[in-house]
Structure formats: structure tokens, C-alpha cells
């Protein structure tokens, strides 16, 4: 059960300003049914250009509804320049905090507000504009959006980024890329990752070497291939020759040869031994294999 503050509960059970303003000055729509939450924000300005009325409609969990409700209260009376400065953190703070895994609700509120302001200022698209390049294909999150939540909320881990904007929370295939964005922005601030990375060692017995190869495939290589519907299987190890087979999408992929050198061999050399070279086992590629979508 989520630990919601009294203020969140109050705004969930008694949401303010529910509805859609007729003939609004600004409309902002973000989210979708597929993502699990969506918000439509409408506002009307007074003669001085301040927000006179704001209303919302939200599909989503309790914190999504509470966030939308409190957002409409926060922006009433503000000029658009003032409203544009509202951050997701302001919204969360106003509610007395949100559970970490629910911070993306406050980001959704800020995005809807931005979209509505942009809509008023001439961009006649009501939908939230995507800026930058898509990083997380599962939830449609761009690098710009990820950079922004990292900066505004001082985030230092992939898990936190997922909590704030959902990126990385689906198949997980983009987690490496998110990690790089965090590194770029936070630099030294990033805590030493505690993940167990296989350690290279000069002297390995044959069994240790095979185990290390398998572990590297499991932890370093397979997740990347899985994200694209593929898979890899270790077939054999003969001295420094590692024989693997591609499965699923990788089996038919024309990029497979490149992947073999750039990803598989590079990772195995990094984590196991510089001497290794990789070959594909073509014989087993024709076998029937099961893979997840």
C-alpha cells in the first residue's frame, strides 16, 4: 500500500476543479491509456493575462488525480510567465511529498501545464510536443525529458529516473543509455555502482573461464539483445574460441555479424580475456526456438 500524505488523500477523495473549460485559452494533453495515466488540462485567462480558471480531467492512480487537482489550485492567479516556472518538485512539495515511485505523476502535471501554455502561445498543437530523441521506446521518453528530470530533481540513478519519468521501466533496454545521460550531467556525483561486474583475472581455470563467459553473456550481453527481441546462447568454448548462437530476432538480423564483433566479442574481451574471439554457430541457428515478444 502506498504511503500517501493527508494532502494527497484529500485531493484524491475531493478533487478540485474537475472538468473541461468551454472555449479555453490553453489546452494541454499528456499521457495515454496505454501508459496508465493521462491528463487533460484547460485554462482561461482574465483581462490582465492571469490564469482565472483551470480545470482538469485525469485517468490514473490516486496520486495522478491528486497531482492534477493540486496543480489547478497552484496556477490560479498566476501569470503565464509565473506558471511556466512551476516545476514537478513544486507540485510534489505542495502535496507534502509523493512516494518515490509516484514522482512521475508530478512530472506529468508539469508537462501538461507546459503543453497548455505552449498551446496558448501559438503552437496550435494540444498534445505534449516531443523534443529531442526518443530514448525509452516503451514509454516514449526523450533524452531532453530525461536530462530535465535529472537536473530539476538532482537524480543520480537509473531507478530514480524511472520513478520520475518512467523511462527504463518497461523492457529495460535503454537503461545503459540513461546511465550515460546521468554520467554526462552529474559526473562525479554519481555513486559508485554496486552492481556485481565480473572481474577479470590473469589466471583462470577452464571451468572458471567458461563460468565467467556465461556470466558476462547473462549480465552484459543478453539484456541488450533482449531489448530488441533477440537472444544469445553459449554453445561451446575451445581454448580462446567462443562459439555462440543468435536466437529470436537476432537470428535473422543482418546486423548480427556487426553485433558479434562490436558487442559480444568486445564485452567478452573486456570482462574475461583479451585473447578471446567469437564465432557464430550456424548449424544450431535453424533449430526451432522459443523467444518472448
Amino acid at each position: 500500500m502506498w504511503e500517501y500524505t493527508d494532502k494527497v488523500r484529500d485531493h484524491f477523495f475531493n478533487p478540485r476543479n474537475v472538468g473541461e473549460i468551454e472555449d479555453p485559452d490553453g489546452v494541454g494533453e499528456v499521457g495515454s491509456l496505454a501508459c496508465g495515466d493521462a491528463l487533460k488540462l484547460t485554462f482561461k485567462l482574465d483581462e490582465n493575462g492571469r490564469i482565472k480558471d483551470a480545470q482538469f480531467k485525469t485517468f490514473g492512480c490516486a496520486s495522478a488525480i491528486a497531482t492534477s487537482s493540486v496543480l489547478t489550485e497552484m496556477i490560479k492567479g498566476l501569470s503565464l510567465d509565473e506558471a511556466a516556472k512551476v516545476t514537478n518538485k513544486d507540485i510534489a512539495d505542495y502535496l507534502g511529498g509523493l512516494p518515490e515511485q509516484k514522482m512521475h505523476c508530478s512530472v506529468m502535471g508539469r508537462e501538461a501545464l507546459e503543453a497548455a501554455i505552449a498551446n496558448y502561445r501559438g503552437a496550435d498543437k494540444k498534445k505534449h510536443e516531443l523534443e529531442g530523441n526518443i530514448v525509452c521506446t516503451c514509454f516514449g521518453v526523450t533524452d531532453r525529458e530525461i536530462e530535465r528530470v535529472i537536473r530539476e530533481n538532482d537524480l543520480t540513478s537509473v531507478e530514480e529516473v524511472t520513478n520520475y519519468c518512467k523511462a527504463g521501466g518497461g523492457c529495460g533496454g535503454c537503461q545503459g543509455e540513461i546511465e550515460k545521460i546521468i554520467q554526462k550531467i552529474q559526473g562525479d556525483k554519481v555513486k559508485e555502482a554496486a552492481v556485481s561486474t565480473p572481474r577479470r583475472s590473469g589466471k583462470l581455470t577452464n571451468i572458471q573461464k567458461i563460468q565467467l563467459i556465461q556470466q558476462t553473456i547473462n549480465e552484459q550481453i543478453r539484456p541488450a539483445l533482449r531489448a530488441h527481441g533477440g537472444n544469445i546462447e553459449l554453445i561451446d568454448v575451445e581454448a580462446d574460441k567462443v562459439v555462440v548462437a543468435f536466437r529470436g530476432m537476432c537470428a535473422q538480423c543482418r546486423m548480427a555479424e556487426l553485433t558479434m564483433k562490436e558487442v559480444v566479442e568486445a564485452k567478452l574481451r573486456e570482462f574475461v580475456s583479451q585473447e578471446l574471439f567469437v564465432e557464430e554457430d550456424k548449424d544450431s541457428a535453424d533449430q526451432q526456438h522459443n523467444h518472448r515478444e
Binding site: 477523495f13 491509456l33 496508465g36 485525469t58 546462447e233 522459443n290
Partner: protein
């Protein structure tokens, strides 16, 4: 405020009779059954009795019962123990709708070089047995398929599956955590090799479970370090848990008929009323092959957690397959495997009843739920008036 508990597939109330049985086992009769003295040794008799009570419910021999710490341990022990005992076979067949205690274990084994086949289900959550037959081969070490699904209550044809698997020489395990105590089982007439059950799903204590191992099934022990359970599961026996589970199984056998008549009547009444009173909702799962206590309904255009919190305000406990309640960002893997659209999966609610529920509770819920649904739909941008 009184609590109306419709979340019995998550856990159940410990029966008063069970509590009475185990109360003396903490401060008075706390001995270790492995001890040489009478004080400890006398506990062996209580464990024997519990083993008989469990065997009676399952229709098997008491020697085929191994006590574990719960359903998850039983599943782990069955899967890993079978593979360890069949080192030449590398394929596991399971389904996409299994509980994580099975599915996560299988996917982890994939990282250790096993070939894992995940069978899909149709829109009602049913398996295609011909697909299973096609996939079964000489390399198949284990087939693990649940007896009944925890989210939808759909009962899978495990007896037929067990015969099929036996004819191909593989081992068959079933996670029957949701089925035991709700529908009749008779393992003496079945080809099931391994079966998991959990105490706290049938009004017994938490932290106790059983792995049924049919005589002659090859299984390597999973937990090492002691001679308990005939060397098949090491560790000092959880005597209160075991005795409690034994009593719970005895009560379950006595109440099986009520479960399939009165509890089913209550479930049907609740379900029919919701489907009638709430527009745009749909039943998830095969309506004809379901546990008598479970009902899973999707409410379109609204989100499950919001429904749960509003129900909670009235003391009504249920659960949801929505992303927000699953602790992840994606909705229930079971509903997605069934092809339930996202719009409906996010708004799914499971009601799971028990023999402790009353008709008043059902009537109260029928009264309270429809206004909650229409209230949340007023908030939804996807509902156009």
C-alpha cells in the same frame, strides 16, 4: 469501520480452530522433534498427524508430503530439484501466466543455459494442449503449469496435461497454491509428479507450505544441512506451522462443498450485479472453468489503484492488476498474456472470496461500487459525456 475482506487469493484469515491447535506450541510444547528427550520427541507425533491431514486433502500417501516454508520455496525446490536430478535434459516448458515464483525461476534458468518454452494462452486464459504436445520432446526435463491462476481464477486442465507429459517421459510440476482447498483433488488417481501448496492461502499460517512428491519421482534436495523430512528438506521443522497447516487442510476438506456452493453463490451474485450495474466493464478469464471464489473484472477508462483506494474508504479490500499496484510500470503479465487491452488491464479489479464472507458484505459492495466507478469516470479524459 468493519473490514470486508475480498482479497483471499492474496492471503486468508487463520481459522480460529487452527489458532487453537497451534497456541500451545510456542511456550508450552516448544521442543525440537529431533531431540532424544520425550519433551521434544513427542512433537514427532504431531507432525505425523499433520502429514496425514494434508495427505487426506490431496488424496495421496503421507510419505509423499514434504513441508517447506511456503509456496515459493516449494516451486523453487520442485523446479531446481528436478533439473538437478536430470542433468542431460535442458528444456523447461511453462506458461506465460504463471506466478512469479515459477516464471522468474524459469527465466533465471534461461541465463544458466536452459531452454525455456513459455506457452501462450487465448483471450480467456486457456492453454492450447496441441502446442504443448508439439513442444514436448526428449530434451524436456520438466513441465511446470499452474493448477489455477491467481489473478483470474482460470483452472487449467492439469490432469490431462499430466497424462500427456507422463507419456513423453518428462516430470510434471503444478503450482496448486490457489487450487488446494477450493476445488477437490485426488492425487492417487493423477499423473502429477510434483505439486506446490501454501498454508496461508487456505486459512492456515504464513511461512508454511508443502511440496508433494509422487513416489518414485527423482528430485535433488534444494535445502541442505539436516536430515529432516527424510533428507529431502533440511532445517528444524516449523512445528506450529506444520500443525496449523494440517488442521487447515482438515477444515478445508470439511468445507470443500460449502466452497463450491455458498462461496460460489456469493461470487456469482457479486459478479452478476457488477456486470449489470456498471457500464463498460468486462469479465476476465474463462467463465466456465474458474475457481469458485475468484472474479476479475476490468473497468474501462479508469485506473485500478484509484478504484481500490475508494473501496478501501468503505473498508472493502480487493486487488488490482494495474501498473500502479504491481510495483512496476506495466500492468499484470497475466492479463497482457491474455491479450486484454491496456485500457482494460489498467482498470482490472480482482475480488477473491472465502467461506468467511457473508451475503451482507456482497450486498454492501454491490451498493458501493457502481458510484465509485461513475465518479472516477467523471474524472477521466477518455469518457465523453
Amino acid at each position: 469501520m468493519t473490514t470486508i475482506y475480498f482479497d483471499n487469493n492474496a492471503t486468508t484469515k487463520v481459522a480460529e480452530e487452527v489458532l487453537e491447535e497451534i497456541r500451545p506450541l510456542f511456550c508450552d510444547l516448544y521442543g525440537n522433534p529431533s531431540s532424544m528427550h520425550t519433551f521434544g520427541g513427542q512433537m514427532g507425533r504431531r507432525i505425523r498427524q499433520a502429514r496425514e491431514q494434508v495427505a487426506a486433502l490431496l488424496g495421496c500417501d503421507p510419505s509423499e508430503i514434504i513441508f517447506t516454508s511456503g509456496g515459493t520455496e516449494s516451486d523453487n525446490a520442485a523446479i531446481k530439484g528436478t533439473l538437478a536430478a536430470a542433468p542431460n535434459k535442458r528444456t523447461i516448458i511453462t506458461t506465460r501466466v504463471e506466478h512469479p515464483a515459477v516464471l522468474t525461476v524459469c527465466r533465471d534458468l534461461e541465463n544458466h543455459g536452459y531452454n525455456v518454452v513459455e506457452l501462450g494462452v487465448d483471450r480467456q486464459g486457456r492453454l492450447d494442449l496441441t502446442e504443448l504436445e508439439d513442444r514436448l520432446d526428449d530434451d524436456t526435463a520438466l513441465v511446470t503449469i499452474m493448477y489455477a491462476n491467481n489473478e483470474t481464477g482460470v483452472i487449467l486442465p492439469v490432469e490431462r496435461i499430466a497424462d500427456l507429459v507422463a507419456s513423453k517421459g518428462a516430470v510434471f510440476h503444478t503450482d496448486a497454491v490457489q487450487a488446494v482447498g477450493k476445488i477437490p483433488l485426488n492425487l492417487s488417481k493423477s499423473s502429477i509428479d510434483l505439486l506446490s501448496l501454501s498454508g496461508h492461502k487456505l486459512h492456515g499460517p504464513k511461512g508454511i507450505g508443502v511440496l508433494y512428491v509422487r513416489k518414485g519421482t527423482r528430485l535433488s534436495p534444494y535445502m541442505l544441512g539436516g536430515h529432516q523430512e527424510a533428507g529431502r528438506r533440511a532445517g528444524t521443522e516449523n512445528v506450529p506451522g506444520i500443525v496449523g497447516l494440517g488442521k487447515a487442510c482438515e477444515l478445508a476438506a470439511d468445507n470443500l462443498e460449502e466452497e463450491n456452493s455458498r462461496v460460489k453463490f456469493l461470487r456469482d451474485k457479486l459478479e452478476a450485479a457488477i456486470l449489470e450495474k456498471c457500464p463498460d466493464c468486462r469479465l476476465n478469464g474463462d467463465p466456465d472453468h474458474r475457481l469458485p471464489n475468484t472474479c476479475n473484472i476490468s473497468f474501462e477508462y479508469i485506473e485500478g489503484e484509484a478504484i481500490l483506494l475508494m473501496l478501501d474508504k468503505y473498508g472493502i479490500c480487493a486487488s488490482s492488476g494495474s501498473a500502479c499496484t504491481s510495483g512496476s510500470l506495466e500492468p499484470s503479465h497475466v492479463l497482457r498474456a491474455m491479450g486484454v487491452p491496456f485500457t482494460a488491464a489498467h482498470g482490472s479489479i480482482r475480488f477473491s472470496l472465502s467461506r468467511y464472507n457473508t451475503e451482507e458484505e456482497v450486498d454492501y459492495t454491490i451498493k458501493k461500487l457502481p458510484p465509485i466507478i461513475s465518479r472516477l469516470r467523471e474524472l477521466s479524459p477518455f469518457v465523453v459525456k
